[in-house]
Amino acid sequence: MAIAASSTDSTLAIQRPSAVHRWLQHLTARPSGLLGLVIVVTFVLLAILAPVVAPHDPLQQNWKVRLEPPLTSGDDGQLYILGTDSLGRDILSRLIFGARISIAVAVLAVALRSSMGVLIGLAAGYYRGPTDAVLMRLADIQLAIPFLVLAIALMAIIGTGFSKIVLVLGVTGWVTYGRIVRSEVLSVRERDYVEAARAIGAPNRTILFRHVLPNVSSSIIVISTLEIALMITAEATLSFLGLGVQPPTPSWGVMVADGRDLIYGQWWVSAWPGLAICLAVLGVNLLGDWLRDVLDPTTRGGALQRRLSKRDA
């Protein structure tokens, strides 16, 4: 009894730290992954703590200190670290609040895309036959229209604003998820444990969400991470074109557009938000690349992860 108990303890003790340890190893072996993580965490923290860390009110106009260059204090004696825009608003504060918009739009849009795509992919891969054929032809049709063109057209029709941009970015991107999930499901559904579940009479719903979905989840996580970067640029693009978030709400895309005509004299108005978009996309991409390597079943880390998740299941 004592022996059995200690052996259970020791397996647990060995197994858990080793998983964390491996992940840490992956991170240190890939400094770019670490960098990505640091950037993403920084932006997320800034977004959450925006009212605390922003030095000024992002909407407060002060025409006396408009277009102050970075690191100068205006006539009002206040320091504007990244300068002010054409209405005398503090650019740093607007950037910090802009992170909220970017992250919120990206996360919500990806949540919408992935849930649509996963459901469609699961259905197509699991039921096959006519369901599969119809859904995948729909995917082909959607793929034939370039994503941004479709998004711009939809925004022009339904109008602008935060909720609408989330909706448009959300419904136009299920195909990537749908196709990848479908192809994975096609192989997973032939596995023994799925057969076994079916043999004991488990309903389709249980098989799909208990046994199939967890085994395609790593792909979903990787695509979602990379798609976050795509959504950040898409939001910025639409807002830049005036089709997304509306001024005076501080969106990075709107801010770049604000400074478009000023690029000669007052580069900082659009350069900082441009740099913020660059950094955020870079960070998410680095993190996504690293996640892909770790979770990819064909690489060592992925195999490990697959084994761990199977054991947990």
Binding site: R30, S32, L59, Q61, W63, K64, R66, L67, S86, L87, A156, G159, T160, G242, Q246, P247, P248, D258, R260, D261, L262, I263, Y264, G265, Q266, W267, A271, G274, L275, C278, L282, N285, L286, D289, D293, T299
Partner: protein, 520 residues
Amino acid sequence: MTTKRIRRIPFLSFVLIAVLALGVVAQSWVGSSVEAHLQDAETPDQITIALASELNTLDPAFFTSSNEQSIYYAVFDTLVTRDADLNIIPGLAESWETIDDNTWEFRLRDGVTFHDGSPMTAEDVKFSIDRIIGDFMENPSQSKLATIQEVQVVDPLTVRIITTSPDPILLSRLAGIVGWIVPKAHIESTGFEDFATNPVGTGPYKFVSWVKDEELVLEANPDYWNGAPSIGRVVFRPVPEASTRLALLKSGDVDVIQDVPTDQAPALEGDENLEIIATPLLRSMYFILRSDQEGPLADVRVRQAINYAVDKEGIVNELLNGYGIVSQGQTMGPEYFGFADDLEPYPYDPDKARELLAEAGFADGFSIEMLTPAGRYQADVTIAEAVAGQLSEIGINVEIESVDFSVYVTRKLDRTIDPITLGAWSQAVYDADGVVYLLFHTDEPWGVHYSNPRVDELVEEARSTLDQEQRLELYREALEIIREDAPVLFMHQQTLLSGVKTGTPVLTMPDETFIVYPKW
């Protein structure tokens, strides 16, 4: 191995983006100092003008923007034209007289020929006006000459214009906009569609070529009746992006650019090869406050409160760097006949605004939507944001909707604009009729959703009264009522900045046109 290569891509693209961004910024300094010196000081052979918007048609009957008027002025002539002080002077008509209140007789200049060599006669004048007022084609400009009932050819060099009612501003209507004289025989043989891309006129410049969205080339007409132009070629290039226009001017690729953002003016003033021309425009900016809908704006006190709440002086002096003139409680400036120079702007008085709001029952404010076109009018979105910011100070929470100009125009014509909507208006007739009638008369297609029977009466009477003193009084009374009713938030008269290579012989007019060959 593969993963390593993939891993580098974000870094590489990041570096590339950074280099590109630096390049754009750096070009502004390097470009201006080096290339400006390479330019010859004088290039009188050709002038290249970068316009802020695209040209859509070269047929004046179908004109869509003031920029097209620059082309018409060079290629065509009108019966009468304007001098530097905007007084009416002879054009293709060397003299005119009124036979009675409704009949005008014009004596045409002898020996004027079109660019195709055919002589200009009374038949061409009749054709040019008939094709606009007549029903034989769909013409959006019909209303511009709506007071003309008939054109009669008396002899080859004499033409009579009969108006439906006495028209005090007939000459103004004929001196531009759609009053351009086109060759009857030529159009009848080639058709309107061809004419829209291949115009033939009597003007100082002949049409050479036009590649839409790229460039339009004109060439001096050596046989011009008023003397051949000294500048051989004029090229117009549409360049919608302001920063691109600045780059072209700084690099010497163009000689003149339209619409320099006011914040960029100091950058050009520092360059001794370039200069800024500031032209006070006919165009007035205002915000429509829809009084035709239920809601807070139906109460005149709320509309007045909005007028008190906005610091017009501050917007012009701070946001536009002083380029602009605060409107004197009317949507026009002194360039128009009928301007009331003793009306005052609403003063900036937020306390008074709050008081009025409270009186109207909105002490706690309200929320409202505001529509603005993006990038069409000078600093449009910035001004909308500034006004929204000021209205929030008195408790009015404004939600801005900034849209593409084409969407804005559609909604304006569909009468589906937001309760508060940015507007900007100019009419090159230089007469209050073009402003007070077209904006404030009930149910005008471009109007500001305002209706007041007394104003309707006044502007209708002013439209058909020949006595100019009496017209002044009629407009004066209408303008006073409108100022008090505040169907708009009165903003400012715009000042347009053009950037030119020092010494370029080009004139910028209050109607936003460029003149290379003045006809006075």
